[in-house]
Amino acid sequence: MKTSRRNFLAAAGGVGFALTLPPARATRATMQDAIRKVVGDAPLRPGKVRLDVPPLIDNGNAVALSVSVESAMTQVDHVKAIHVFTEKNPQPNVLSVYLGPRAGRAGFTTRVRLADTQTVIAIAQLNDGSVWLDSKDVVVTIAACLEEIG
């Protein structure tokens, strides 16, 4: 096929676009996959977990995030793990925390990056096998992760 100017420009534009695409982002589906990979087939129920994250975030590079779970934290009834996931960060996993009765209280506080206005999910796995979740919608004005540096 003879390459016309129009075809050439369309192809060249496509190449340029492909090169400047931001890294692939997580989607709701990849987040679900990541969650399933961690918790297996256990049903997710809302409740028990409390995810605290500001609803409006000026700077996505350092967002205070805390998770707490209602639990007696005894040998027979405790939280085994807490996981945090996001919907639109480049990678759905944020962090996974493993704890036990010696923690005294089930919870932690940290700072995370959020790439976009999205849903953040916290999941708690209890020692009896039940899995609980809480989700929060956040609005991010300055995104993390995708800026260039000189």
Binding site: A62, V94, G150
Partner: protein, 106 residues
């Protein structure tokens, strides 16, 4: 070399739940960023944090690139006995950093 700050009570009553705040200096380069000429910047993050109390692991966390630079992490434990808490961060490029703190339990 890195630096860490641990903030926790030096004394506690037996059975009391104490709060431990940890902060470690690390860029947590995500691996998703590029330089102005488009070259990808390789990932350099802390992937694991663990805390042991007199040799027994009481807390562990896996970090992903979404954890902010200079990871701050606050958690709790039950003061069971006088001793040492060891904190260990490990990650990409053979990064390992340990810090310890002592507690007196009465």
């Amino acid at each position: 070399m890195s630096r860490a700050v641990i903030n926790m009570p030096a004394r506690a009553k037996r059975g009391q739940v104490i709060e431990i705040k940890t902060l470690v200096g690390h860029p947590m380069e995500t691996g998703f960023r590029r330089t102005s000429v488009g070259a990808p910047i390789p990932r350099d993050i802390i992937t694991q944090f663990a805390c042991t109390y007199n040799g027994t692991e009481i807390f562990r966390a896996d970090f992903y690139p979404a954890v902010s630079a200079n990871p701050l992490f606050t958690f709790t434990t039950v003061a069971t006995e006088t001793g040492t808490l060891e904190f260990k961060w490990s990650g990409d490029n053979n990064f390992v950093f340990t810090e310890s703190a002592t507690i007196t339990v009465d």
